[in-house]
């Protein structure tokens, strides 16, 4: 009998059916992957299992017995523990506090801090993170370490079902491998593991069974390997895909849009030289956290005290602030990392979000031209094929993919000459991704220069004319034409020679840095060597 079973589960949010009569089962001692586009219902599925939402219909069975959870804490008590995409850690509290946040060891009614610390040390050792001091505040740890603490915390709740929602998204390659090892160990120990991931390669590495969801329905479950990647994608989208990426044209060099020489910042970026031609899509690759995000922010004027020279259209410029970057003189746009907190004002309307960067352009003197505003909103929606009810609805009501389209439409309205993109398709459904690839190619052909940071090698290979691989804040390799393939990207990312040297140095010097673990990433079969 399956350990955890969902029978006829239905969940509606207003007019949208998130889960439609879903039957689902997962067994103890197996790693079960859940696949599907955004809006397919994966998130709602695990939220139902984890007690975050209550289903409108249907039953949850644990070992054949019906259960219902009013709160996540009840689900935890029943042995179902979930690690969500949004980390559940409290930044100002210590690692030890966070790991034992819900039911800490007590003494005389108060929290027993020594016992709590010992517990943290044990759990951190179990996931091979002995270098984390339990007294450290979460805020002072790197994103990857925080995710590992999150996993330690989940283990501490002694789960029989462990659910991971994109839990590897923030991890370094070495930590990803650690996590996979642990998952295998847990599976062998008899725990049921459910993992949601957009990364086929990781799923191939660790999953035993796969389930595909589409539009709130459970489409199929099968053993890993029983279906090809193509079949799976078809099940997820429900239609055939011809080519993933629009064809690249042979580029004619029409001049340089942006050039950076010796660009550096605060010990995180060193001596970067790059050149984006007009109409070129330049990719940024490499392991996650090697400075790509900082480079984009730096070119947009967010970073202070940068060194080096940046020229736009041949003129040396000072990138003081996003206001300056956006200005007519420079015409730079940035699609930021997190659309919810950096790209949109969620409670404001779609129309407001679309036009917020272009209000000066849409004004006559000090006053906004209402007719021009309406036209711009209609244009933006049409151009990006954004599915909206009414432009006055809050942008929070849109799906993730449509929200990202609003962010992009907002920036296209400023008529940029240079577009910087920070992993724009992360967490977006396949259909919207396609539209974004096609859009970028169209923009490039019209002469816009594009700098495209992606954590997905397929995208770098499929979209970009050239790829720069970054490591430790430097550009270490430039790939053009046929050189752009997985092997070259991964090899460059790992920077094998330099690592060998660094290890030798590190052995001599007692102080190890956070980049050390990258050495073990070479074994991983993952095509994405980062995030």
């Amino acid at each position: 009998m399956p350990h955890l079973q969902l029978v006829g589960i239905t969940k509606r949010y207003g007019g949208v059916t998130a889960l439609d009569d879903v039957d689902f089962a997962c067994e103890l001692g197996s790693v079960h992957a859940v696949l599907g586009e955004n809006g397919a219902g994966k998130s709602t599925l695990i939220k139902t299992m984890a007690g975050v939402v209550r289903p409108d219909a249907g039953q949850i069975l644990l070992d054949g017995k019906p259960v219902s959870f009013a709160t996540p804490a009840q689900a935890n008590a029943a042995g179902i523990v979930c690690i969500f995409q949004e980390l559940s850690l409290l930044p100002d509290l210590s690692v030890a506090d966070n790991i034992s946040i819900a039911a800490p060891p007590r003494r005389f009614g108060l929290i027993d801090r020594h016992a709590q610390r010992r517990r943290a040390e044990e759990l951190l050792a179990r996931i091979r993170c002995e270098d984390v001091n339990p007294l450290s505040r979460i805020r002072d740890l790197s994103l990857s370490r925080r995710q590992m603490v999150e996993i330690a915390k989940a283990l501490g709740q002694d789960p029989s079902v462990l659910i991971l929602d994109e839990a590897t998204s923030a991890l370094t390659a070495a930590d990803v491998d650690n996590v996979f090892d642990i998952l295998r160990l847990l599976r062998d120990d008899g725990i049921a593991i459910l993992t949601i991931s957009h990364r086929m390669h990781e799923i191939e590495a660790v999953a035993d069974r796969c389930s595909v969801f589409r539009n709130g329905r459970h489409i199929d479950s099968f053993d890993q390997g029983a279906r090809s990647a193509d079949e799976i994608v078809r099940m997820m989208i429900g239609r055939d895909i011809e080519a993933h990426f629009p064809a690249k044209r042979e580029r004619v060099d029409t001049g340089t849009a942006l050039e950076a020489r010796g660009f550096g910042w605060a010990g995180r970026l060193h001596d970067i030289d790059l050149r984006i031609g007009k109409g070129e899509i330049l990719g940024l690759g490499g392991l996650d956290g090697q400075g790509q995000k900082e480079l984009l922010l730096g070119l947009f004027g967010v970073l202070k005290n940068t060194v080096g020279e940046v020229t736009v259209d041949g003129e040396v410029v000072r990138l003081d602030s996003p206001v300056a970057a956006k200005g007519d003189a420079l015409g730079i746009a940035l699609i930021p990392e997190d659309r919810k907190t950096e790209g949109l004002m969620l409670p404001m309307s779609i129309a407001d979000n679309l036009t917020i960067a272009s209000l000066a352009r849409l004004s006559n003197g000090p006053f906004i031209d209402g007719a021009a505003l309406e036209r711009a909103v209609a244009d933006g929606i049409a151009r990006m094929h954004i599915k909206v009810g009414s432009p006055d609805d809050p942008v929070a009501t849109l799906s993730g993919g449509n929200q990202q389209k609003v962010v992009i439409a907002k920036w296209l309205m400023t008529e940029p000459r240079i577009i910087l993109l920070n992993d724009p398709t992360r967490g977006i459904d396949v259909g919207t991704k396609q539209e974004i690839y096609a859009l970028l190619r169209t923009l490039a052909e019209a002469g816009t220069a594009i700098l495209y940071y992606s954590t997905d090698y397929e995208e770098l290979i499929g979209c970009c004319d050239r790829v720069l691989v970054m490591y430790d804040g430097r550009v270490i390799r430039e790939l053009t034409g046929d050189d752009i393939d997985e092997h070259e990207i991964i090899a460059s990312s790992l920077n094998a020679d330099a690592i060998a040297d660094a290890i030798a140095d590190a052995v001599a010097d007692a102080d190890t840095t956070a980049h050390g673990p990258a050495a073990t990433a070479g074994d991983g079969p993952a095509r994405r060597a980062g995030t």
Binding site: P322, K326, G327, M348, I356, A357, F367
Partner: protein, 314 residues
């Protein structure tokens, strides 16, 4: 027709004004046999006094929309009044406005450039202003009188309508146009909503914040200048009674205390509600103790009715 969420506060506060008028009229009918409260002359006079609060509340709303707050309003009012009367002549009113502008610049600088939480920074500027004024005036009310123009604006009537009310109306029109029809106004909402997104959208956030504080300061200065005209002179602590009612009026009017949402019409109604409430309590000769209790209870009641603040998890 379903009521939009942002219209509910306006509807409810309007209803409550009706309730207040009804209760007050019932009281006057039973004690005086007349509907004093509903007499146009009386209402106009109350609104005339309310204009001073209304102008302050207009400025406060701009700052609250940003997600900030201006606690330096009490002594901005007093300083503007004192400097205006001290300077006298044709420069009185410009000086009053100038004081407000200067305070706004300082506040804006501290909040936008030094990133000090507005709650505590404006607390500090309030204390400094008090210190400067006490030192300047020797602790007594200044003996200088308000200029004729100041008195005119505060007290005179044009065609039966108090000029102060006209000033309030002009301020209101300006604020509405600013918020709805200018880029900076929209930027205010954006920053109050999600400052990071506003910044990354290329909005000059620091400039907008300084602008809002300057406007708030100037409006407080204007109000102080008019108040001096009304009382014919300035006096210590004349602005203290305006801070909390201004904040209350803005919030009762439906502006979210954390910023990003609100309509000016709501603030107008909120001010009217508070002014009428005070009038009724005066007519009833309610002692201060009762006034405080009623005042606080009304605010809570209104907010409960609006259903503010959702649960953390949807």
């Amino acid at each position: 027709m379903r009521l939009k969420e942002e219209d509910r506060p306006i509807l409810y506060s309007s209803l409550f004004i009706v309730v207040i008028l009804a209760v007050g009229t019932a009281y006057t009918m039973s004690t005086q046999g007349r509907a004093t409260l509903l007499a146009p002359a009386y209402l106009l006079q109350q609104l005339q006094v309310g204009a001073f609060l209304g102008i302050v509340a207009a400025g406060m709303m701009l700052v609250i929309l940003l997600g900030h707050i201006d606690l330096s309003v009490p002594w901005t009012i007093a300083s503007a009044a004192m400097m205006a009367t001290a300077v006298g002549g044709a420069w009185a009113i410009p000086v009053g406005l100038g004081v407000g502008l200067l305070v706004g610049l300082v506040n804006g600088f501290g909040v936008a450039y030094l990133r000090i939480p507005s709650m505590i920074f404006t607390l500090g500027t309030n204390a400094v202003l008090r210190g400067i004024m006490v030192a300047h005036t020797g602790g007594f009310a200044p003996q200088t009188k308000a200029t004729p123009l100041m008195q005119y604006l505060a007290v005179a009537k044009v065609g039966g309508i108090p000029v102060a009310l006209l000033v309030w109306a002009a301020v209101s029109v300006a604020v509405v146009v600013f918020l709805n029809r200018t880029a900076t106004g929209k930027h205010v909402f954006a920053i109050g909503n999600t400052e990071t997104s506003a910044y990354l959208s290329g909005i000059p956030t620091r400039r907008v914040i300084v602008t809002a504080f300057c406007l708030c300061g100037m409006l407080a200065g204007l109000s102080g200048t008019l108040l001096a005209g009304y009382s014919t002179k300035a006096y210590q602590g004349m602005g203290d009674a305006y801070l909390l009612p201004a904040i209350a009026a803005v919030v009762i009017g439906g502006t979210h205390i954390l910023g990003g949402r609100g309509r000016y019409l709501g603030t107008l109604i909120g001010v009217t509600l508070i002014v009428l409430l005070n009038s009724v309590l005066s007519i009833m000769q309610m002692p201060e103790a009762g006034r405080q209790v009623i005042y606080g209870s009304v605010i809570i009641l209104m907010l409960l009715v609006y259903g503010r603040g959702g649960r953390v998890m949807q």
